[in-house]
C-alpha cells in the first residue's frame, strides 16, 4: 500500500497553514495558545470549580439559557450546562494527550528499530501496520469499544494501539531516509553501537517529524474521542463529556439550544487550535533545524 504514501504524508501531515512571520508568534497562533491555556486551566480546576456537575436535579430541568444561576440553562436531567461543559474539558483533552504520547512512544521504538534494522523486524512491524491501517481508526474503535464495552481508559488504550501505525510509518520513513545519509555511514565506520546510532544520531534528526505528528494526533484524537462518545460508545452515560452532551442535547434542541451549540463549538475550536499550534510548531522546528 505504498503508492498512497505520498498522499498519506500530505493528509497525515500538518493541516497546511503557512505562517509567514519568522520570529514573532502569529496572531492566530497566539489566540489558539491563549484559548488552549484557558481550556487547560478548566481541565485542572474543574474538580474544584464544578464538583457536582453531573448531579441531577429533576426540579430544574430544561431551563433556557439566561436563567439566574444557570447562565447556559439546564438539560432534561436538570444538570447545569455551564458546569457540565467545564467538567467535560477533562475528558476532551486528557485522553487525547495520552493517546498522542503513547502512540508516539510506540512509533519511536518500533519505527526506529524497523527502519534501521530492516530484515524480519521490519517485515513484522510493517505487516502489523498494514493490518491496522486496513480499517479506518474510527470504524475499528466503534466496533471494538462498542462490542467489548469498557470505559474511558479502555478506549484510550485502544486508540493508542489504533493510532500507532501512523507514528510507526512516519518514524520508519524518516529513519530510512536518514539511514542512507553519509553521516550515519560515518557513524557506522566508527563502529558505534546500533543503539547509539539509532537513538543518538538518527532520532534527533527525525524528532521534528515525531513532535509535529504527535500534535496532529492530539487534534485527531480529540475528534475520535468525542465522535465515539457521540455515538454512545467510549464513555458511560452520565459522564461529563462534550460528545456525550451533543447526543443528549439532540432531543432538546428547541428547549435549550445552548446544550448542543456550546459543546459543539468548543470541540471544533479546540481541534482547530491544536492543529494551528501544531502546524506552527512544525514549521518553527523545521526552520530552526530541530529541537535541540
Amino acid at each position: 500500500m505504498s503508492t498512497s504514501t505520498t498522499a498519506r504524508a500530505v493528509v497525515d501531515g500538518p493541516v497546511g497553514v503557512e505562517f509567514r512571520s519568522k520570529h514573532r508568534v502569529p496572531i492566530v497562533v497566539a489566540i489558539s495558545l491563549g484559548f488552549l491555556a484557558i481550556v487547560m486551566f478548566f481541565v485542572v480546576a474543574a474538580p474544584f470549580l464544578v464538583p457536582n456537575a453531573t448531579e441531577q436535579d429533576i426540579l430544574s430541568s430544561l431551563l433556557p439559557p439566561g436563567t439566574p444561576g444557570h447562565p447556559l440553562g439546564t438539560d432534561e436531567l436538570g444538570r447545569d450546562i455551564l458546569a457540565l461543559t467545564i467538567a467535560g474539558a477533562t475528558s476532551a483533552l486528557v485522553g487525547p494527550c495520552i493517546v498522542a504520547v503513547g502512540s508516539m512512544l510506540i512509533g519511536v521504538l518500533l519505527g526506529t528499530v524497523a527502519g534501521y534494522e530492516r530484515g524480519w523486524v521490519d517485515f513484522l512491524v510493517s505487516r502489523w501496520t498494514d493490518l491496522l491501517l486496513a480499517l479506518p481508526v474510527l470504524l475499528a474503535a466503534i466496533v471494538v469499544a462498542g462490542v467489548f464495552g469498557g470505559g474511558y481508559w479502555t478506549t484510550t488504550l485502544l486508540l493508542i494501539v489504533l493510532f500507532s501505525p501512523s507514528d510507526i510509518r512516519i518514524v520508519r520513513a524518516g529513519v530510512l531516509e536518514q539511514s542512507a545519509r553519509p553521516y550515519i555511514e560515518a557513524a557506522q565506520m566508527l563502529s558505534l553501537s546500533r543503539w547509539r546510532v539509532m537513538f543518538r544520531h538518527i532520532l534527533p534528526n527525525v524528532s521534528t517529524l515525531v513532535i509535529t505528528n504527535a500534535m496532529l494526533n492530539v487534534a485527531f484524537a480529540i475528534v475520535a474521542f468525542s465522535s465515539l462518545s457521540f455515538l454512545g460508545v467510549g464513555v458511560p452515560a452520565g459522564t461529563a463529556d462534550w460528545g456525550r452532551q451533543l447526543t443528549d442535547a439532540r432531543s432538546i434542541m428547541f428547549d435549550n439550544p445552548a446544550a448542543a451549540i456550546v459543546p459543539a463549538l468548543l470541540i471544533i475550536a479546540v481541534a482547530c487550535a491544536v492543529n494551528l499550534v501544531g502546524d506552527w510548531l512544525g514549521q518553527r522546528l523545521t526552520r530552526t533545524g530541530g529541537v535541540a
Binding site: 503508492t3 493528509v11 470504524l139 455515538l231
Partner: protein, 312 residues
C-alpha cells in the same frame, strides 16, 4: 507485481476476517441470551439456538463455517432485525451510496478549483480563505458540524429537511443536502490540501520554469502542472475513503439517515454480532479495492511507473 499486490491484499483481508470473527467470539456477554431475545430461556430453546448458530462446534470450525458462508454470500441472520444480514445491508446501502455521492460531488466541485487557485495565488487572499476552510474542515468533527447545521436549518432557515431520508428520488436528494454538506466539508478539506500541496510542488518544478521561459501561456502551464499533480491527488483516494467511512457513520447518526452507518452504530450498541462482522469486513474489502484501483490509476497516470509495472 500486480499479482503480488492482490495477494498481499487478500492475505490482509483473510487475517482481518479472522480477527473480526475471533473478537466477536470473545466479546463479553451471554451470546445465547442475546440471541434468544425476549423468548423464554427453556433448555430446548437454548439447545435449538446453540444448534442453529453452531455454538458447540470448535472455534476454528465455527470460523470456517462463517467464512464459507461469507464467501457464498450467506452473511447470517440479524438478531435485531430478524432478517438475513445481506438483506439488511442491501436495503440500507442505497442511502449511504447516495450520501457519499452527493458529498463527493460537492467536495470536488469546490475543493479542486479552490486548491488550484490557492496554489497559483499562494499567500494571497484566496489562499487564506482556502487555508481557513481547510483547517476547519480537517479539524471539526463531522457530527459537531452536522449538529450546528441542523440547528441553523431547523431553527432559523428551515429550507432543508433535517431528519430522515425522504421518499426516494428527488425528495431523497433534497433530504441529503445537509448531511451531504456536512460530509463534504471534511472530504473537501482533504482534497483541497492534497491539490494545493501537490500543485504547489509541481509549480516549483524546473519544467514549469522552463515552460514559462519558452513563452508558454500561464493557463497551459497550470494545466500541465495539474496533470503532473494529478498523480499524488488520485493516490489519495483511499485516504478519502477512510475518512468517508467514519464520516458517514457520524453524518447518518446526526441526521437520522437509515444508511449503513446508522445500521453499524445500532448493531454495535445492540451487539448484533452477525451484522457487525459483515459490515466490518465489507468496509475493509471496499477500502482494499479502492486502494487497488488507486494504484491502477497511478499506473495510467504516470508513464514512468507504467514502464516498470505496479509499485509494490
Amino acid at each position: 507485481m500486480l499479482a503480488v499486490r492482490v495477494l498481499g491484499m487478500l492475505a490482509i483481508l483473510l487475517v482481518l476476517s479472522f480477527i473480526v470473527f475471533s473478537m466477536m467470539y470473545l466479546a463479553p456477554g451471554d451470546l445465547v441470551k442475546t440471541l434468544l431475545g425476549n423468548r423464554p430461556a427453556s433448555p430446548e430453546a437454548v439447545a435449538a439456538i446453540r444448534e442453529q448458530y453452531h455454538l458447540d462446534d470448535p472455534f476454528l470450525v465455527q470460523y470456517f463455517t462463517w467464512l464459507g458462508g461469507v464467501l457464498t454470500g450467506d452473511l447470517g441472520e440479524s438478531i435485531r432485525l430478524q432478517v438475513p444480514v445481506a438483506d439488511a445491508i442491501a436495503s440500507r446501502l442505497p442511502v449511504t451510496l447516495a450520501l457519499c455521492a452527493v458529498a463527493f460531488v460537492l467536495a470536488l466541485a469546490v475543493s479542486i478549483p479552490l486548491g488550484v487557485a490557492s496554489a497559483v495565488h499562494a499567500g494571497r487572499p484566496v489562499d487564506r480563505v482556502g487555508s481557513a476552510l481547510g483547517i476547519v474542515g480537517l479539524s471539526a468533527p463531522t457530527f459537531a458540524v452536522g449538529l450546528l447545521l441542523l440547528y441553523v436549518f431547523a431553527y432559523y432557515v428551515p429550507i432543508f429537511p433535517v431528519y430522515g431520508a425522504g421518499d426516494g428520488g428527488l425528495d431523497t436528494l433534497y433530504h441529503l443536502v445537509l448531511p451531504g454538506i456536512t460530509l463534504a466539508l471534511g472530504l473537501g478539506a482533504i482534497v483541497l490540501k492534497l491539490t494545493r500541496t501537490a500543485l504547489l510542488r509541481e509549480l516549483d518544478a524546473d519544467y514549469v520554469t522552463s515552460a514559462r521561459a519558452r513563452g508558454i501561456d500561464d493557463r497551459v502551464v497550470h494545466r500541465l502542472a495539474l496533470r503532473n499533480a494529478l498523480i499524488p491527488i488520485v493516490t489519495g483516494a483511499s485516504l478519502v475513503l477512510t475518512f468517508l467511512v467514519g464520516g458517514t457513520v457520524l453524518a447518518e447518526t446526526t441526521f437520522a439517515l437509515p444508511g449503513i452507518g446508522l445500521l453499524l452504530q445500532d448493531s454495535v450498541l445492540f451487539k448484533d454480532i452477525a451484522v457487525v462482522q459483515a459490515l466490518t469486513l465489507l468496509i475493509a474489502v471496499a477500502i482494499a479495492v479502492i486502494a487497488l484501483l488507486a494504484d491502477l490509476a497511478y499506473l495510467l497516470l504516470d508513464p514512468r511507473v507504467r514502464a516498470k509495472g505496479v509499485p509494490a
